[in-house]
């Protein structure tokens, strides 16, 4: 008891100023937290089939709206009969991720090989269809969590190798390649992502021949990959700069050519140092997937935003409930990713410097 009291005194009420700060924060909590809990849970509506359940002066969050939209939130507008295909992709993705992240599952190399080479092919065939008797589902019908994950995963998978190449190019001894990389990186880092998405949606089709009728989602994915590659490149460059010159010189002395020096000596060390920064970039990319709703895609945010204005459900409480639900989902995903990056950082001992 006395230790608790002593702790409180030392950490909360050490000076008059601190006492005032502590009390005002406690007061703020007492004032702000109960109404939020009251709205989100105590006064909330949990069952119902339309907005009628959620209107009224005395009503809080409108959770049946989320239940009613669950199908759209998870699958987008994927045909009802074909949703099992999405389920398989989800299951494969989760299994692969667990294999790679849980420390006590063996044969990481096999898991990595399957995730890098087999999973994308399987997901592509299953989701898009049109072969092996699977009904074709155009990307127009993709949406919700499915679209968000596709954009995030493809974006990350495509931007990382491109970013590594750009980082190497920026440090190249060949002036043309160096200047090309610098310009490329700085241009994309200097403009907002929205303008890049606008470019993919409105300007890119003009630069392609009429015969090459590209998918709108494909164009957006290319834009997202290029945009984020510039950011990845800067993180990798930071890692490259931290590797002592002697490493590359030693590899040169052994007679290794440029690509061997990079793949076997420099990059393995540089990428290891870059991991925390790369994961931070991935968190940003996951958050930024929501921007595709601005150019008309119905991703997680787009589905909710469209649902909020649906006359069947529209009410002030509906919109807030939708946003609260989305905030919880994005927060959980991004927070756990950044925690995972912190754990990696500790395990790889990156933080410890002599």
């Amino acid at each position: 008891m006395t230790t608790a009291l002593r702790w409180t005194r030392a950490n909360l009420f050490s000076t008059p100023g601190n006492a005032v700060l502590t009390s005002s924060i406690v007061l703020l909590f007492v004032w702000a937290v109960p109404p939020v809990i009251d709205w989100a849970f105590l006064r909330a509506v949990w069952t119902g089939t339309s907005r009628d359940a959620c209107v009224g002066a005395d009503v809080g969050a409108c959770w049946p709206y989320i239940w009613a939209r669950a199908g759209q939130i998870i699958y987008g507008f994927y045909p009802d009969g074909e949703r099992w295909r999405v389920d398989i992709v989800y299951a494969l993705g989760i299994a692969g991720t667990l294999w790679l992240t849980l420390p006590n599952i063996p044969r990481k190399w096999l898991g990595a090989a399957l995730m890098i080479f087999a999973f994308p092919v399987a997901a592509y065939v299953l989701l898009l269809g049109g072969v092996f008797g699977l009904e074709a589902v155009p990307t127009l019908h993709w949406g919700g969590l499915l679209l968000t994950l596709v954009v995030a995963v493809v974006g990350i998978a495509a931007s990382l190798p491109l970013g590594i190449l750009l980082a190497l190019g920026r440090r190249s001894e060949l002036p043309v390649i160096r200047w090309f990389s610098v310009t490329f990186i700085e241009v994309w880092r200097g403009v907002p992502m929205i303008t890049v998405l606008f470019m993919a949606a409105n300007m890119l089709p003009l630069f392609l021949p009429e015969s090459l009728d590209t998918d709108k989602l494909f164009r957006a994915l290319v834009a997202i990959a290029i945009f984020n590659a510039a950011y990845m490149a800067e993180v990798v460059r930071g890692g490259l700069q931290a590797i002592p010159r002697g490493q590359e010189e030693a590899a040169k002395a052994l007679g290794l050519g440029y690509w061997r020096r990079m793949t076997f000596v420099v990059l393995p060390q540089a990428l290891k140092i870059s991991i925390p920064g790369l994961v931070n970039n991935m968190v940003s990319m996951l958050k930024d997937t929501s921007l595709i709703s601005v150019i008309g895609f119905l991703d997680l945010l787009g589905v909710i935003q469209a649902g909020n204005t649906d006359p069947e459900w529209a009410s002030p409480n509906t919109a807030l409930t939708g946003y609260l639900f989305l905030a919880i989902i994005y927060w959980a995903a991004c927070f756990s990713l950044s925690r995972y990056s912190a754990r990696l950082e500790r395990n790889l001992n990156v933080g410890a410097r002599p």
Partner: protein, 394 residues
Amino acid sequence: MLRRSVERMAARKSARQYWRSLAWQLAVVAAALLVMAWMAVNAVESLQRQHIASGFDFLNETAGFGILQTSVHYTEESSYGRVLLIGIINTIIVAVISIVLATVLGFLIGIGRLSMNWLVSKVCAAYVETLRNIPLLLQILFWYFGVLEALPYPRNSVRVGEGLFILNNRGLYLPLLQSESGAWLVWGALTIGVAAALALRSWAVRKQMATGVRPATTGMVFGILLGLPALALAATGIPFSLNWPHLDGLNFDGGLHIFPELAALAVALATYTAAYIAETVRAGLQSVSRGQREAAAALGLKPSLAVRLVLIPQAMRVIVPPLASEYLSITKNSSLAIAIGYPELVSVFAGTVLNQTGQAIEVITITMGVYLALSLLTSLLMNWYNSAQAMRGE
């Protein structure tokens, strides 16, 4: 003999390397030119096929649509070029407001995270971890559709005083300071006062450096700073008036009207970026080693002076470069305004003007060019600041 053959081998090898690097570079240039030519041919064909005009003449054409917030003269008869100008101005307005708010909030939270008070540091940490991990677009939509729509109608506005502060679902109304004739004299006096006070301060610092004694200038500084404008005010008979907002029918009129779009965007940008600035500030403060503060204490500096003269100047060197890139992020992120219809550059120009003219290539090139110019300007300013702030005598 042996030596000569080794030399010859080295020369041959370096010659081979030279040709190889030349080949690589030529290949890159050729590929880039080929892609560009291919795209240009396609573009010419597409524009002809879709009957889209090209060139920048459209900037002189009549826009024909209204804009919510205009700080320079604009009517529906104004040109697309005018729309571009208004878009840039509105981008700068929301960026400046958000930067000021985010800096204040970010420094408070960053310092709070290092507080000895357990509750304060935990609350600040929770703020950072919550705001950073939720998409900015969602936060903007939350403030606009969630919070501002829930505010009362104009008749039931939240009011402080008669017209000092009026908040309703049409926005925020504040009294507006209006200059009348002769006001320039007061502004001029204020400018001269500030300049003179700065000059006086730098003279005092030089004197202190030379003799070790700082002349007492506080009284004089305040005298100049307040006295000159006061004199000008008295001489011109207070050439200012306050324009109070007042209820006119169903809506408020007059005063300074901050649109809900601007308010939601600025609040969302500021609170979101403050989380990142807080982390920057924390890293900066932590980068100053403990010994610095102890040395300051050993020299007999008061804690407040130690913070001002020892801790902050060293921390700022670490804080400012990432701070500048956060400011740039705010400017770029203000383009998310398109989701709620605040009329900044992307929303009015890359949105409305592009839809009306269909000249995607020109419109998007101009839009990107403006942001690139802003980025370039910021990095130039940063280089200048860094060279001015870099440690001397090293």
